[in-house]
Amino acid sequence: MNKILFFAHLRDAVGEETIQLDLNGKTVAELKEFISEKYEIALTNVMTAINEEFASDEEVIQQGDAIAFIPPVSGG
């Protein structure tokens, strides 16, 4: 299983801080597409961390990996 953590407005859109999914062998891009459709949110520009390390859209998720989605914000 994999834990997926949502930050900021993504958390509100999803309605929970974390969800659990089995993602072994899936890419970050595939996960983004699934989440995007299920929760109707745009994840195109959102950064992904796997086990607290930056991950590209091509990266393949392993059993037990913790994934976090961090949306860049522009306010200042």
């Binding site: 930050f7 801080e17 607290e52 930056f54 949306p71 860049p72 522009s74 306010g75 200042g76």
Partner: protein, 339 residues
Amino acid sequence: MDDRYSRQTLFPHIGIEGQEKIRTKHVLMIGAGALGSGNAEILTRAGIGKLTIVDRDYVEASNLQRQQLYTEEDVEAKLPKAAAAAKRLQAINSEVQIHAVITDATPEKMEDLVEGVDVIIDATDNFETRMMINDISQKHQIPWIYGGCVGSFGMSLTVIPGKTPCLNCLLKTIPIQGMTCDTGGIIAPAVQMVISHQSAEVLKILVEDWDAVRTSFVSFDLWRNQYSSMKVSKAKDSGCLSCGENRTYPYLDSENMMKSTVLCGRDTVQIRPPHQHDIHLGDLSRQLKALGYSVKGNPYLLSIEMEEQRLVIFKDGRALIHGTKDLTQAKAIYQRLLG
């Protein structure tokens, strides 16, 4: 005022020697809003040699809730932020050389502004200017520190040319998204926490304690009690157009800048973003409605009613701002709502 910096020189990583370095350095601050005013105050109190503050805006009532250098008097006088900031900063520390520049930071102006600068602090409210800072930083080998916040959420990244990945390595493009301080609101504690991270990094760079510089992307949410530190060294991309082997500095090219035009005789400005990005109109509409805006739409566009203007945004990111002929104001409205 002999004793002025004693608590800072007592801090072993700065010391007398570090204080001397701080006194000879020049920091360039792009933006004098919430992040800008807080960072400027810390650096001025810390005894920075020279501080250049660039801002295009003037002080408004809605700034006072979080922009720490300004008072009710500045709002009444409609003072430009850079000028109001300089006035307060000089009262705080008359030893510091404050250079206030009231202008919109364009690539051309940046080329002049970075002359002799040791660090650039990002205190802007949009990614277009940040990506330009990112390119300028790489071109002139000057470190810069990204900061952003909205609601109770904030983030920061330190970019050291030749050492860390740059913002373009991480984001690949200018993000379009509907969550800014003008839509999601902002609380002052989140602003201050971004400032804490940015200003600590600036001090490390000024005293040349390179080993101490943060190499992770920090983000936090003070209301939800979240804090995350994401390692980014793997993100460094040799194909990056800003910092890679065949770099072109795309965001210094005015072709890639936002275009704004007054539509003749219509009291309307058209804004065209540099790249065609499809916007998720349904998503944007839900966000804006949740925040109390009156939003109407169809599959091709959204129409958003504001106090004195109306903004119509198309799926490709192009927008019409009705009710103004002021290009800078229109651009600012667009960036506020769309980041």
